[in-house]
Amino acid sequence: MIDTYATVESILNAKEKRAQRQNELLARFGDVSLVSLSLAIPGLLKLSHSAVVIFDIAVSEIRLLLAREAVTLLAFESTLERSGAEGIFTCKAHSDVLKKLTCQIEEAHPLGRFMDIDVLNAQGKSLSREAFGYSKRRCLLCGNEAKICARSQTHSYEALHRYIDVSVQTYAWKQSMALWCKRAMKTEVELTPKPGLVDQENSGAHRDMDISTFYASIEAIVPFTERFLEEAYRYANEEPKGAFSRLRRIGLECESAMFEATRGVNTHKGMIFCLALFCGAIGRLKARNESFTCKALQTEIQALCAHLVEADLLRQKPHSAGMRFFEETGSLGIRGVAQSGFALVFETSLPFFRERCERFGEENALKQTLLLLMSIVDDSTLWSRGGLEGLAFVKNEARHLLHVSLRPQDLDEVLKRFDQTMIAKNLSPGGSADLLALTWLLSRIVES
């Protein structure tokens, strides 16, 4: 839904619905004030990636402020629709006090200009900024009065959105990157149908999880992606080996948070490992003011993982599927993929995905890329459930489907049949799913 356009009709309806909802809340709670948050995003692309980042920041700023001022928050509700992101805080506090405080956020926060924080008193009247000594809102680009620039269409929507994106990149790059990670995980799990994997239709070959387990897991992981980025950025001068240890420590915390959210089910352990490395590389590049090219990211990850195979696989007793996989088959698994700087993704799945995207659109391209990954990855998740025989079956079958019998319009039928076969054989290509999410992530963040 993020980055898709709204219709004029849906935007106008959303405004009326919001006004109606405000009246309902005032009628239900009586003597309260409302803080109603929406965003000042011009045009029909109301729910852009940047808009969601700004919205999340605005919500936490308002929460922080309410807590600091010891304001009782009676209810909070938020909706993210194509027509825009909005939230309503029902507060037990005088509306004047709330307006003064929220004006400060609008004025002082570097992204405050994009926040529209209305305060309504118990009678439903919206308080004006001018009554509290603040000026009318200025245009994002030229500093003239906003309403005048808007009416005369002085600036193009492209220029306005570019300005919003640049502001987010400047003041909230970590939150923005964390949202890309979150969207990558959601894109992967929501892709349907997928052979053997949890999707919107079924739980594939898994009996202990479904898509809601994945949503809970994603929510638990996202705050840690920001911590990976922050830690890597702050200690960017440290040599890679030390940086890797820092990332691994946070990664283990992240794993515990995931297991807590899923009640002990392993949904994203491999993904956390990969995200730690990517976020680590991104944080280090950002600190050196380097751009996120394929080459720079790959080199940085190689440096972070330089000792990984040796340290983990050659010197330790195996205590994970990936380690047992190595001991029994000699395959380096995900650690080998990581130590190569994810060459498999940068050199194979990413170019493939981009090319298929152009020809078939994103969803179809994702499904084809999943088959591609399944046909080449030594996936320890497959091996742990089906042994070498299961792994070989999946690789051969995926290769056959992708290269021999594939007609794009039949893809869903083919995948559904493959799904049934894999469920019957209790096989799940969890490693390929992680690499698919990473492929999508890179397609969005890599600069050429």
């Binding site: 009326e16 919001r18 009416r151």
Partner: protein, 101 residues
């Protein structure tokens, strides 16, 4: 030629949020269209807004009507849409026809 609508009920559309307009329509004793505009940009755009409101009302063949607009910096097509929706509600039509805009 469509018939002139003169039998309307009071109705409203829109909100008082920024970038929106709150539009009320009600029957009027006098023939014609009476427009009352309250806008923070009235000095610069008042005439243009009134002209496009009048055009919208005439296009819908409504007569003996008073249109009150509280504009909060809405774009032209938003004001038109709000006026049209208010009039459709005043006429008892639930689904607006966006294609006439």
């Amino acid at each position: 030629m469509n018939t002139l609508h003169v039998d309307i009920q009071p109705a409203h559309a829109g909100t008082l949020e920024s970038s929106d307009a709150f539009v009320r329509v009600m029957p009027n004793d006098r023939a014609g269209v009476e427009i009352e505009l309250e806008s923070s940009v009235a000095e610069i755009y008042g005439d243009a807004i009134e002209a496009s409101v009048l055009q919208t009302v005439l296009a819908m063949n409504v007569d003996r009507v008073k249109v009150m607009i509280q504009d909060k910096g809405a774009l032209d097509f938003v004001i038109k849409a709000r006026v049209q929706t208010a009039l459709l509600r005043a006429l008892g039509v639930s689904e607006p026809d966006w294609s006439t805009l």
